[in-house]
Amino acid sequence: MSQQNRLGTGGRIDRSRPLRFSFNGQTLEGFAGDTLASALLANGVDVVGRSFKYSRPRGIVAAGAEEPNAIVQLGATEAGQVPNVRATQQALYGGLVAASTNGWPNVDRDLLGVIGSVGGRMMPPGFYYKTFMAPASLWPKYEKYIRKAAGLGRTPKEKDPDIYDHINRHCDVLVIGAGPAGLAAALAAGRSGARVIVCDEQDEMGGSLLDARELVDGRPASAWVASVLAELATLPEVLVLPRTTANGYHDHNFVTLHERRTEHLADLAPSINGRRQVRARMHRVRAGEVILATGTHERPLVFANNDVPGSMVAGAVSTYIRRYAVVPGRRLVLSTANDHAYRAALDWADAGREVVAIVDAREHPEGDLVNEARARNIRIIPGSAVIEANGKKRVTGAQVARIDIGGFKVAGRVETLSCDTIASSGGYSPVVHLAAHTGARPEWRDDILGFVPGKVPGMTPVGGVHGKSAIAEALADGAAAGVAAAQRTGFKVEAPALPKVAKVREGKAAALYQVPHVKPAMRAPKQFVDPQNDVTAAGIELATREGFESIEHVKRYTGMGFGTDQGKLGNINGMAIAARCLKQTIPQTGTTVFRPNYTPITFGAIAGRHCREFFDPRRFTALHAWHVEHGAKFEEVGQWMRPWYFPRGNETMHEAVQRECRAVREGVGILDASTLGKIEIQGKDAREFLNRIYTNAWTKLDVGKCRYGLMCKDDGMVMDDGVTACIGDNHFHMTTTTGGAAAVLDWMELWHQTEWPELEVYFNSVTDHWAAMAINGPNARKLLAELTDDIDLARDNFKFMDMREGTVAGVPARVYRISFTGELSYEINVQANHALHVWKALFEKGEKYGLTPYGTETMHVLRAEKGFIIVGQETDGSMTPEDLGMQWCVGYKKPFSWIGRRALTRPDTKREDRKQLVGLKPLDPQLVLDEGAQIVLEKEIRIPMPMVGHVTSSYYSPNLGHSFALAVVKGGSQRIGQTVYLPMADGRVHAAEVVSPVFLDAEGARQNV
């Protein structure tokens, strides 16, 4: 086979650049400018796939986005695999490797096809729901087989090495589609100086002009296209995007354009000058005005065996001949209900091949094209249609009969015409998809026998999609819309002079969708409506008969429009058939909903660059490099990378944490606390604001003093906590949890801006500005003393919960004597740029005190020993301050009813048996309970059994010499001393005593030294 269907001349392919490619293991040749589909047709490949349910051989039927059959697997390498490529939209490149997705052992000889033809009768729509129910135990096995038969292509086994990205664009006018209407619109709008984007999904701009028979200004239409593109290229504010599909139309004129940047070159994106190119780019366009110039999709006629390879839509035949110089057969029968499709027969004849007949459903076809066919002595059979195709893997003949459209019956004798190609045309459906994405329902127009877009604010349909199909009309429509859109976005322009295109006189089209057969649809050979999903006219008829009357039910019961072409080819036919069965009109039946995507788009392109390290930011403290250098393992907390523990040598985590814990209680340890949220608060009403937002009182906090605060939502549940320092009478430094920082700041702004704007207070995040280093342990004071000469560290001059300003290691610092470990502790805050200097200085002086860096795990153990909660670990949005035993932190007497106050007296919050925070001491002192273990009251386990709480934190403490845990337990404060049980997944049941949550130094002696 060597391009036996290629014409010697013509077309828009580049014959000087032959390209080799492979299909199903066979090496073939095409030309630059081919699509994979045109190259396959040039080589006489008939069967490109097998259908989903019946495994019938399938060939190429269309030339664009509406192709349902030619869905192939692409890729020469594993990483370069591209599943489900539509051959009609894939440019050919050298070395392209493609294979059919279904068919076993291969598409040509498919064994499943046998089952399909025998068993097919047993697979009407909905057959799944009617069977495989008994016995219930067998369903998983059936399902396995059902699944095996599913799917088209396969996913690559390797990670995608390519990159994708997004670009945000704003324009005045976005023109979608670059046929005559779109180009005229773009030219008009572009000349105004407005920012214009014009995109087209095809490799070449021009749309229907690329295969038009009409002359434009006396020259081939493509010459006009070239001249327009040349002018657009000179307009600096116009962006022309070929190979770019508008795939989704969202609210407020936000349109996504998917640009295929390298898919026409290779499976894997090439590098240029060593720079990786993005495989596909999503243009996220916000447009002032959208001009929809997406043209029309031709409808094939629904006749028996209309899926046999060699059966195509008429326009595709023209496209292949005129654009690609490929005649997809030798002997053509055209079945049409309109004039426009006559082009296929004329083009066929022009190519020097035989037109067996034009079968026209209309009694009196009349028009310029009809006359031209007559003039060429092409046989025209009026009032008739092809009712059935002959052939299996290729059309061998067409059964033609006189039909009565209104009565939906065959009205005469059946004549069989020998042919290898049947082109059909039932009319043209405007491509309304994008407009429908916005929620606008399409509107039926009797004059064009099609749905046009519903109204979308800021959108104008032009050309074919607007029912203005003839080139001259489309040009005028587009130009006018371009002028108007420019004007609405503030630009002035004259309408461009339009080229002259002779008007082709056309007769009125007939409304024909399903062609009647001599047998009723249920008994006739299959008449396919949606070939990809094997949806037939009989299937639709059956669905309506079974009560699936809404078109949405028909869709869902039969699968119509579910495929990768989303019903572009078949939906309107299906709706017309449903309408006929239900004895209603097409507009009464309505359409199903078109949704994004217009054509399928890779996940990679939609994800863009936001993958792997860019999936989500990682936040680092100023000391991060030091932690890495010192072997830290990290825990991520709300995007922050926090040292989790610092193993030495071969230490396990447990060993490292035990060592770190001891170091803090016995010597001195240091924690990078920079991730804590920090909010600076200034203003004369700062205290009042704190009074309202925190549960406790702030009126009397002196300058230089710190206080712990709890924050609730107004439902009384704890949302965050932290220490806030009074650093000036009207000036506070608040800290929040690491994960809660942003939410707390927003929360404060919310209350301030919406409820209490009269309070004179301002907040700002200073989380990143300050680095915080917490030194903890008996030696902390001695260590700090070595690095400061201007802070009086004497116990009684710098007390627990005091703040002092001074210099540490030569760097101005605020030092807070606060403690999350219960030890003597100073939290040194310096401007973050200087943090590493101070940190290193501490280590220089700290060595002799055994200064040990510790991470969050040790911090957790140490705070738990003291019974300090962690919001998000001890709390889960259902704990009040009282549940946590933190009545001491609740200002019951504050005059303003602070956020959360009222809720504490709601009936449920008042209950005594609420879950309360307690400590647990396992009876086995070595046993570390599971965090998340559930607590029950009885030792004997029966399932189901009532649970009274769960373990929130659990550790082994080298300081206590035993394991311990924090837990929340129903009525827990009344249960101190009781033994509770913790049933484990492995059947073991642990026992623990309920104790106070404070395990160490309840009186606080250690931190008050």
Binding site: N168, H250, D251, H252, N253, F254, R286, G439, P457, D714, D715, D746, E749, L750, Q753, T754, E755, P757, S897, R901, R902, A903, T905, R906, P907
Partner: protein, 99 residues
């Protein structure tokens, strides 16, 4: 993808810059302690949730960090107006969406 006019920045900006914060004009009872459990529950949780015109609170999180109100149709998603906190809407369900 909404395109929202921020009355503080005086520009129409992309949805990604904003965060929706639910129904607008929900005032916290002035005397919570004197408020019945029922009224408190209503204030916390019960919402108009209209199908149609909705006055809602938005936050210009990545821009000026100001809260403001939006009158938006929850079916068409059309935004009829935006206005500052403390102001009253000029487009309401009773008055009809003038624009």
């Amino acid at each position: 993808m909404l395109h929202i006019y921020c009355p503080h920045c005086a520009e129409t900006r992309e949805e990604e810059e904003f965060r929706p914060k639910g129904e607008a004009h929900i005032a916290r009872p002035v005397e919570p302690e004197a408020t019945s459990d029922e009224d408190w529950g209503n204030y916390l949780f019960f919402r108009k949730n209209p199908r149609g015109l909705h006055h809602e609170l938005w936050y210009h999180a990545a821009g000026c960090r100001k809260f403001f109100n939006v009158t938006r149709d929850t079916v068409s998603y059309q935004i009829h107006e935006t206005y500052k906190v403390g102001q009253k809407p000029s487009v309401t369900a009773d008055k009809g969406a003038a624009k």
